[in-house]
């Protein structure tokens, strides 16, 4: 018994639930095969407690002979050895036999079961026909079964089943088997449910006691594992795994609590120092050794974890989840290391590395054992972590045991190795025969430097390959870098270089500065060993400027460069070109003058601000920028001249002449440079015939940038790129900006360059190169583009007025400006101005010129005063000669002259030409100024300049300050002339002596001035009116030629009063005398004293002839003779534009005026006032009515009717000599005269026409008269509705 308990029969999971068999053993043996086969054939549904999902389960059983020892004693909770069902087999069919022996046997069996309170039993009665036949005294079949049921199955009749002819192939037999098996399964499951349920309850109770002092995790572990075993036995691996995971979690929680200061007593056993580190063992389903350790409470943490994981692993592999094993393994290994640390378990240095290494390989071997190659390759991502972990651990072991050192291990190292190997113990029997066991690998690797290298490289390369295969490039690079470190330790920089380079490139490309710095430092070391001078210097430069390093390190790398630079070069040594980017950054560049556009030979300075990245001051022998020279733009500018350049607009496009260089931080800069933004545009291809869309697409414009190899992209940043591009080669022939012996301090420095400006053209900065001894720092491109321009300018003369407008008639100052450009004015050079009569040049002796030096730029004060020189001006008859003072090139000469433009007598005729000296024709045009109504005169001046054989024509515009207007006024027969003189300029004037004279004086007319004042002030935009009365003795001449003249002088506070000038205005008056007078009277309705609104009033118009038409006037006025009386036809019209009056009935008509003095024609009309008050009289207009020469009736064609109804109506009316109706629109009459004339001309048809009289020919007496209109008496009725 004792022995049995100590050594359970579980070594493999070939276990099945135990079913004991009592009774007829031979009978059972004969049926065993069938039974064992049939039982698992059909699944049964297992309904479970605690809401767990029901499961279909295939039952198997281990049928053993019934022994009392098999029954568990009280307290033994072992489930695996627990007999779940007890079966009693009998084929007894004889009552006697039953009574004699079988019953007794059964009774004993039952008693034993009852003693152990086992209620899971079954009695099987096997019946066979064969047996029955042999016996004669057979009772009916049922009787024996009934007896048994009666005897044993108290109310449990289903505990006794009959199996009929089990060995026969009959349907009855099959049926019997089937029902028996169902019963058997049902009972088994019932037993499981009951017993497992009880077990679980016990287990939970135990778990709840975990806070009690005596509680042991190991004991509990054993209990729960028992459950796991049973689940596993029932092939419920998932459930089994859950048990282990629960144990795992429970343990983990305890360790964590321990770490948090809440320690459990039982944990003490796990805190024992680690003495064995032989790794996981996954080749056995159950590692009994470890299990026993746990059972005895002697397991270390690693033992417990190893055992637990081996069980989980086994179950996961049963569940075909090998990849979960790898994930859990990595987690476990990490976790164990952490837990040992947390529990402060003392571990020999390196022991854990051994354990982890062995474990990793063990897991990998286990996985390899259950997966095929293709599966493994497809799931690299799951295994690679373990590979890397193993590699890391081997590496650290190698470092620990002195296997990586160049000189091999020391004796201390060897001792350590021996200790570590001792902890491995002996190899486990499972792997003794395996050549590649983890144990053997580790032992071998630790045995010698060579073996270590072999194993380490093998593992590393495997890891790198796997990472590459699954695209984890960063991880691959990290392993690679680790390899590089290994090679460097081994003194093999050649091999290290490649790995370092790859890693560095990745870190630079992704902008991880700390990694970049770290790797670069390793790279520097490597390059130094490899004697790659250029690369080493480049790397050193980058490190010297690396902000991640401390000052000391940076200074070290800087000194490396400086000491190399100061070495005298050997005969074959060339200078070393390094990238400027590592050495210094361009910050900004400032041009002085800021426009960066200067004339040939002018001074142009460039101030370059450079941030030196070196930690110490560096003396630069020469800092030079090569220039690219091109003629194109400079030439164009030279021709354009300086005046067309907008100030402050240099080639840089900025007004301040400052070029800022973009400062991407090294991180983001690298990050961004990786992926330039796509520049896409749409492309559509249309058919040429009907422009239908053939195809559409998207085109990438910057393919060349995007598809560029990234390697070459960062070539200058990665020092290993080797030779710098050819463009860096410093071109000595080109023009340069140079600064010698510059000491660059750390941080910002300012360097001043003087730019060459020898030739006109465009200069572009291309490369920047700083020479420090043998080392040259080169920046091959300067971006943004920096350029300046040198121009050559032609001399130029401009003349500008000093004031806004030049006024004609008054002396005006104009400024002469000569930009000398490239021409230098020598002594004796003179400007020759052609004199004109209309614009004399008024010069005085005190004329002087100012010479300004234009310093070529657009500085706030662009001109520098150079001094004043006297000018000598000589005038001859035709030419005014101005001798210029000597002036150097690119200077400005300024002087002022006074000119006077005579006002031509107004009104000016268009295109009046002014001949000057006969050689040049000056054409002065006068036009009306659009807004201010000023008349202006364009005066051209022809100047011969000393630098040109051609004359320069310069146009000056003068404005006439006055505008005159005349009006003829009449009063009856008396005539007055009014002249209005308007000051249209912005100046104020004094006007004096307005005089009006006849140009060809006649004795008949006398002009009597009615103007009082002699002198009058006329302010800007004001007018002066002058009036003369005309008196004549006999007849008025038909035409009067007059000339108005007035003296004016500008009023100025500054200048002394100047002499009066005369303004003249000529005009002509025609048809002065009054022919007709029109008089109108409005009479109120009869019986009323006043007119009233709404009441018709009489309007009497009388037209009286004042004078006979003179000879000349008669030509125009058509007169006809009717019945011997000479008459003139007039048309009158009453118009009231202000809608005061309604004209009722006819409003216009034609009258015939007899050609006799004082002939009067009266017309009566009716008008109605529309408003009350003093109403002005309606207008009465009189026209000349000229019938067509042939007095025939014209029938207007229908077209014209349609075209213009109004006109044709009027035409008809007029032709019929009838009176037009008042419905005719008033406005149409105006158009009649001109319109009809046009029509007549157009059509060539004779039509009557209207012609207005000249002003003064008709005198209207009622002009301005008003009549009182009273409101109508009772038209103020207000209707009010109240609702």
């Amino acid at each position: 018994m004792e022995a049995h308990e100590e050594k359970p029969i579980i070594y493999t999971m070939e276990n099945k639930p135990i079913v004991t068999c009592a009774g007829d053993q031979s009978l059972f043996t004969s049926l065993y095969t069938s039974l064992a086969q049939q039982l698992p054939k059909e699944p049964m549904e297992w309904r479970r407690s605690y809401g767990r999902a029901p499961k279909m389960i295939h039952l198997e059983a281990n049928f053993v002979q019934f022994k009392e020892e098999l029954l568990p004693k009280d307290g033994n909770k072992a489930l695996l050895t627990f007999p779940f069902l007890h079966i009693y087999w009998t084929d007894c069919c004889d009552t006697e036999v039953y009574k004699a022996s079988v019953k007794e046997d059964m009774q004993r069996w039952q008693n034993i079961l009852r003693l152990h309170s086992s209620v899971d039993w079954l009695i099987v009665v096997v019946e066979s026909d064969a047996k029955k036949k042999n016996k004669t005294n057979i009772l009916p079949r049922t009787s024996i079964v009934d007896k048994i049921r009666n005897d044993f199955c108290n109310k449990q009749s289903d505990r006794c089943v009959v199996l009929s002819d089990p060995l026969k192939e009959s349907s009855r037999s099959q049926e019997s088997w089937s029902s028996f098996l169902t019963k058997l399964r049902t009972l088994l499951l019932m037993s499981f449910t009951k017993n497992l349920g009880r077990f679980e309850d016990d287990m939970r109770t135990l778990r709840e006691k975990r806070t009690e002092p005596g509680w042991s995790f190991c004991d509990y572990f054993m209990v729960q594992e028992e459950l796991a075993f049973v689940f596993e036995m029932l092939q419920q691996f998932e459930d089994a795994l859950v048990q282990y995971d629960e144990l795992d979690a429970l343990f983990t929680q305890y360790v964590l609590n321990f770490g948090a200061g809440d320690g459990a007593n039982w944990l003490g056993s796990f805190c024992a120092p680690v003495r064995s580190w032989n790794g996981l063992l996954l080749r056995r389903p159950i590692d009994m050794e470890k299990r026993e350790l746990i059972q005895r409470g002697e397991a270390s943490l690693l033992d417990l974890r190893s055992y637990l994981f081996s069980r989980q692993c086994t179950l996961l592999i049963f569940l075909q989840r090998p990849w979960e094993v790898t994930l859990r393994a990595l987690e476990l290994l990490h976790n164990c290391v952490q837990e040992l640390r947390l529990l402060e378990v003392s571990v020999v240095p390196g022991a854990l590395d051994c354990w982890v290494f062995l474990s990793c390989l063990e897991v990998l071997h286990r996985i390899e054992g259950c997966c095929d190659r293709s599966q493994l390759e497809a799931n690299c991502s799951h295994t690679v972590g373990l590979w890397t972990y193993a590699t890391e651990k081997l590496k650290s072991l190698g470092y620990l045991c002195g296997l990586v050192a160049e000189n091999g291990p020391t004796s201390e190292d060897l001792n350590r190795t021996v200790d570590l190997l001792a902890g491995l113990g002996t190899e486990r029997p499972e792997t003794v025969n395996s050549m590649q066991s983890p144990y053997k690998k580790l032992k071998e690797a630790l045995s010698s430097v060579e073996a270590f290298e072999k194993h380490y490289l093998e593992l590393s390369h495997a890891a790198v390959e796997m990472y590459r295969a699954i695209g984890r490039m960063r991880s691959a690079r990290l392993v690679g870098k680790s390899l590089a470190e290994f090679y460097m330790r081994k003194g093999d920089p050649e091999r290290a270089e490649g790995f370092l380079e790859e890693s560095l490139r990745l870190y630079v490309a992704e902008g991880w500065s700390l990694q970049v710095t770290h790797t670069r430092k390793q790279m520097a070391e490597c390059q130094k060993l490899l004697r790659q001078t250029d690369d080493y210097l480049q790397t050193s430069a980058l490190l010297a400027g690396d902000a991640n390093l401390n000052q000391e390190e940076r200074t070290h790398f800087c000194q490396e460069i400086l000491s190399f630079a100061s070495q005298p070069p050997g005969p074959s040594d060339q200078t070393v070109a390094l990238s400027m980017a590592a050495f210094a950054q361009l910050r900004q560049l400032q041009f002085s003058p800021p426009g960066a556009v200067v004339h040939v030979g002018a001074a142009l300075q460039l101030e370059l601000r450079v941030r030196c990245l070196m930690p110490v001051a560096v003396h630069v022998g020469q800092l030079a920028a090569t220039l690219h020279f091109s003629l194109e733009q400079g030439g164009a500018r030279g021709r354009a001249g300086s005046s067309q350049r907008r100030p402050g607009q240099g080639p840089q496009g900025q007004g301040d002449g400052v070029v800022l260089f973009p400062q991407g931080s090294p991180l983001s800069g690298a990050g961004c440079s990786l992926t330039p933004a796509l520049e896409l545009y749409e492309m559509q291809d249309r058919s040429p015939s009907d422009s239908s869309l053939n195809s559409a697409g998207v085109v990438c414009k910057n393919v060349h940038l995007l598809l560029r190899r990234h390697d070459s992209n960062a070539s200058l940043d990665t020092p290993t790129a080797g030779v710098l591009p050819a463009a860096v080669a410093v071109d000595d022939g080109a023009q340069m900006l140079r600064a010698r012996d510059v000491t660059l301090q750390p941080g910002d420095n300012s360097i001043l360059f003087t730019a060459p400006t020898g030739e006109p053209g465009s200069y572009t900065l291309r490369q920047l190169c700083g020479s420090v001894g043998r080392v040259q720092f080169v920046q091959s491109h300067i971006y943004p583009v920096v350029q300046y321009e040198v121009y050559s300018q032609e001399p130029q003369l401009t003349i500008e007025p000093l004031s806004d407008n030049l006024l004609a008639g008054i002396p005006q100052r104009v400024k002469f400006t000569i930009a000398t450009g490239h021409y230098s004015i020598k002594k004796g050079d003179a400007l020759q101005l052609s004199n004109t009569d209309s614009m004399p040049i008024l010069h005085s002796s005190r004329c002087s010129a100012t010479i300004l030096s234009s310093t070529g730029g657009q500085l706030p004060s662009p001109h520098e005063h150079m001094g004043e020189r006297a000018l000598s001006i000589q005038s001859s008859e035709k030419v005014t000669s101005i001798s210029l003072p000597p002036t150097p090139p690119y200077h400005t000469l300024e002087f002022q002259l006074e000119v006077l433009c005579h006002i031509p007598p107004a009104p000016l005729k268009l295109d009046s030409e002014r001949l000057t000296n006969g050689e040049v024709r000056h054409r002065s045009k006068s036009r009306s100024h659009a807004d201010s109504a000023m008349i202006h005169i364009d005066q051209k001046v022809s100047i011969d300049c000393p630098w040109s054989i051609y004359s320069t024509l310069i146009s000056l515009t003068f404005y006439v300050p006055f505008k005159a207007k005349h009006t003829l006024l009449s009063a009856g027969r008396r005539k007055y002339i009014q002249v209005c003189l308007q000051n249209v300029s912005d100046s104020n004037f004094h006007l004096a002596d307005p005089v009006l004279v006849e140009r060809q004086p006649t004795t008949t007319v006398e002009l009597l001035s009615l103007n009082a004042k002699r002198q009058q002030l006329v302010c800007s935009q004001q007018s002066l009116f002058c009036l003369w009365e005309m008196r004549w003795a006999k007849d008025l001449p038909p035409c009067l030629q007059c000339e108005f003249s007035a003296s004016f002088v500008p009023i100025s506070a500054l200048d002394p009063p100047a002499a009066f000038k005369t303004y003249r205005y000529e005009f002509q008056l025609d048809r002065v005398s009054t022919l007709y007078s029109v008089k109108a009277e409005i009479c109120p309705a009869s019986g009323d004293k006043h007119c009233r609104t709404g009441t018709l009033c009489g309007l009497e118009v009388s037209i009286t002839r004042q004078a006979e038409p003179s000879e000349t006037e008669g030509e125009e006025e058509e007169s006809t003779e009717i019945e011997g009386l000479k008459t003139t036809k007039l048309m009158y019209e009453v118009v009231d534009n202000s809608s005061n009056w309604a004209v009722c009935g006819k409003s216009s008509g034609v009258v015939s005026m007899p050609v006799a003095p004082s002939a009067t024609h009266r017309v009566q009309m009716e008008v109605m006032p529309l408003f009350a008050g003093h109403l002005p009289f309606p207008n009465i207009k009189v026209f000349k009515y000229l019938p067509h020469s042939a007095a025939q009736v014209i029938q207007p064609d229908t077209d014209s009717c349609l075209e213009n109804d109004n006109l044709s109506l009027l035409d008809k009316g007029l032709d019929d000599q009838g009176d037009t109706a008042s419905i005719r629109s008033r406005g149409s009459v105006h158009s009649v005269g001109s319109g009809e004339q046009q029509r007549e001309q157009q059509r060539g048809l004779p039509m009557p026409r209207l012609e207005p009289f000249s002003p003064g020919q008709v005198f209207n007496w009622t002009q301005g008269r008003q009549v009182l209109v009273l409101p109508a008496t009772d038209d103020h009725v207000m209707e009010v509705n109240v609702t």
Binding site: S381, R472, R474, E510, L514, Q515, S668, G671, C672, T675
Partner: protein
């Protein structure tokens, strides 16, 4: 609590990275950078499977012996705070997207989330 918090730009360079014990800074940088492998893997896997694109939590990225690297969010509300703070940084009109983050507020938020170095 976190020992290292990094915000990585989509071009894989660090917008912000801060770790607790200064002496381990380089190691943290290496670890964070290497775990980008897994981020890329997970993101591309999400794209393939057309899974819920809003699921921003990438989970455990890169377990190491000493630390675990989580992508985007841990099981606490830690990341939500970080994300909100990051959004604030992005909303700053003076912040140029792509630049490293130098916001003091963000720094403060990160400090709260980190293990306080004793």
């Amino acid at each position: 609590m976190a020992v290292c918090i990094a915000v990585i730009a989509k071009e894989n360079y660090p917008l912000y990275i801060r770790s607790v014990p200064t002496q381990n800074e380089l190691k943290f940088h290496y670890t964070v950078h290497t775990s980008l492998d897994v981020v890329e893997e997970k993101i591309s896997a999400v794209g393939k499977a057309m899974a819920d694109q809003r699921e921003l939590y990438l989970g455990l990225l890169y377990p190491t012996e000493d630390y675990k690297v989580y992508g985007y969010v841990t099981n606490s509300k830690m990341f939500r705070k970080l994300h909100n703070s990051f959004t604030d940084v992005m909303c700053n009109p003076f912040y140029n997207p792509g630049d490293t983050i130098q916001s003091k507020a963000f720094d403060g938020m990160v400090s709260v989330m980190m293990v306080q170095a004793s």
